[in-house]
């Protein structure tokens, strides 16, 4: 049954993006919002709005009972979670279903399976999707480690089984270094976590981050090719492209097929992304994780395929079968997205909420802006710092880069510092233009090029 009234349970640019898709499908839109977002553009542009709580996200955009109650109260038959907040919360998906609401996304069970890293890795292996070579479980003795090394080779990462957040990770480049670091790693793991269990994982140097967009209806799955998100700062993506630069067509085919196999394995419903590490030197790729939601960088895929992913999500959630066949997906040209965040690149990216004193937006051929900003808007301190996505499309990467550079020059956000300054520097950087980058490239570049950002 097609959706008639949709509750948008998110904020900012993605709330507006969802509203636009819904409106084009003739769906009535109700915007859920916190007290801090009363003056936001999504609230103003919706058919109706409902306040769900005070500013802190925990009491509003993360408050499951308040959102479900709001959806019921406004007569919504579906809820779109956007990204972040409750988008990958299986309990929220379940709570919607129990309340008789359609959750625009996969089932709670799929969300939970992919949210559990061990389970996701197991499902990937079952679906014949390569995972990063390493020890199957924890190992205690160096002798066991030597067996694993036959599969991983050097360099290898020694990780604490009970660790997380990068703590207790060591990189060994040869046998001698491994023998020296092993006891240290064990002792540290034992002291930090009360558990001396370690595991080994192949270290992929200069890896690129590739990800495949998939779309499923619970029965069939198709892919919409890949994105390259290798420009990251502290694991946060800042710049995304589609298609991936210099990707061999045969590797592209294997990569996309692997993503489809994993999504098929879980009877995926909705839009999802399968993330991989890509070793350009060998052409090998390894499963990282699957994101069971629409992603921030989805517009680059939309720009090269001409397919509205959010509209497809809403149609599928309304019970329609996949609106496309794989043969109908034909990418054209190249698209680049840069994230304009309310952060000061000259001050180590310190977040900077505040008033948008003035706003001049770029336009012209091949330029798309996804934002909920307006002049005079007060950017609240309570949520993430993403202000705007600037997307440039061209016949080829050269044209997309030229349009991006031109659009960044036209863009003027007054009142607060933003990462636009970073992108103006990056777009002129030879390594970026040649795409001679990897996921750990940006941080050292920032250290040596601080003067470009002042």
């Amino acid at each position: 049954m097609a959706i008639r009234t949709l509750l948008v349970a998110n904020r900012g640019e993605i709330a507006l993006r969802i509203q636009r898709a819904a409106r084009e499908l003739g769906i009535r839109v109700v915007q859920a919002h916190s007290a801090a977002d009363r003056d936001s553009l999504p609230v103003r542009l919706a058919d109706a709005a409902i306040e769900i709580g005070p500013p802190p996200a925990k009491k509003s955009y993360l408050a499951i009972p308040a959102i479900v109650e709001a959806a019921t109260k406004v007569g919504a038959d579906a809820v779109h979670p956007g990204y972040g907040f409750l988008a990958e919360n299986g309990e929220f998906a379940d709570a919607c279903e129990v309340a008789g609401l359609v959750f625009v996304g996969p089932t709670g069970d799929t969300i939970r399976a992919m949210g559990d890293k061990v389970e996701a890795r197991r499902l990937a292996a079952e679906a014949g999707v390569p995972t990063v070579p390493g020890s199957a479980g924890r190992i205690h003795e160096l002798d066991e480690a030597r067996e694993v090394l036959a599969r991983t080779g050097f360099p290898v990462m020694i990780k604490a089984a009970a660790g997380g957040g990068g703590r207790g990770i060591r990189i060994a480049r040869d046998e001698e270094e491994l023998a020296r670091l092993w006891p240290q790693a064990r002792a540290e793991a034992l002291a930090a976590f009360g558990d001396g269990g370690l595991y080994l994982e192949k270290r992929i140097e200069r890896a690129r981050h590739l990800e495949v967009q998939v779309l499923g209806d619970g029965q069939r799955v198709i892919h919409l090719f890949e994105r390259d998100c290798s420009l990251q700062r502290r694991r946060q993506k800042l710049w995304e492209e589609a298609p991936a630069v210099r990707l061999d067509p045969a590797v592209r085919e294997r990569l996309c097929a692997a993503a489809v196999r994993l999504a098929e394995r879980v009877h995926y419903r909705g839009a999802g992304t399968v993330e991989f590490l890509f070793d350009e030197a060998t052409g090998d790729f390894y499963f990282l994780e699957m994101n069971t939601r629409i992603q921030v960088e989805h517009p680059v895929t939309e720009e090269i395929t001409g397919i509205d992913l959010v509209k497809a999500m809403l149609e599928i959630a309304g019970g329609a079968p996949l609106p496309f066949r794989q043969e109908e997906i034909a990418p054209r040209g190249h698209a680049i997205e840069v994230r304009i965040n309310a952060e000061d690149p000259a001050r180590d990216f310190a977040p900077h909420p505040g008033r948008i004193a003035s706003l001049e937006l770029p336009g012209g051929p091949g330029v798309r802006i996804d934002t909920a900003l307006y002049a005079g808007y007060e950017v609240p301190p309570f949520y993430d710092s993403l202000l705007m996505k600037l997307i440039a499309r061209g016949r080829d990467r050269e044209e997309a880069l030229a349009r991006l550079e031109r659009a960044l020059a036209e863009l003027a956000i007054g009142g607060i510092p933003t990462t636009a300054a970073l992108h103006r520097a990056l777009v002129r950087t030879p390594e970026v233009r040649a795409w001679d980058v990897h996921t750990a490239w940006l941080e050292p570049w920032l250290d040596t090029n601080r003067r470009l950002l002042a």
Partner: protein
């Protein structure tokens, strides 16, 4: 006894504990020295320590844990 206030340096969400499963930095009645951390303010997902610029006895908190606060808003009252 002069009444002083600890002000929030930033706008955001105020937390009294370093993590949900840990005890609060300060309780009402605790002594405070200049530089003592009394809480955190979360600004766009980044956490910033709130350090006291006054010394004395923390009489009471003026905001609840997880309340939204503005820059310059009094967070706690200090006597001393």
């Amino acid at each position: 006894m002069a009444k002083k206030e600890i002000l929030s340096p930033l706008p955001g969400t105020f937390y009294r504990r370093p993590a949900p499963d840990q005890p609060p930095y300060k309780s009402e009645g605790d002594p405070v020295a200049v530089g003592d951390v009394v809480g955190l303010v979360e600004v766009m997902k980044s956490f910033n320590e709130v350090k006291s610029e006054v010394a004395g006895k923390l009489v009471r908190f003026l905001v609840e844990n997880e309340d939204a606060v503005m820059a310059g808003q009094p967070l706690a009252e200090v006597e001393g």
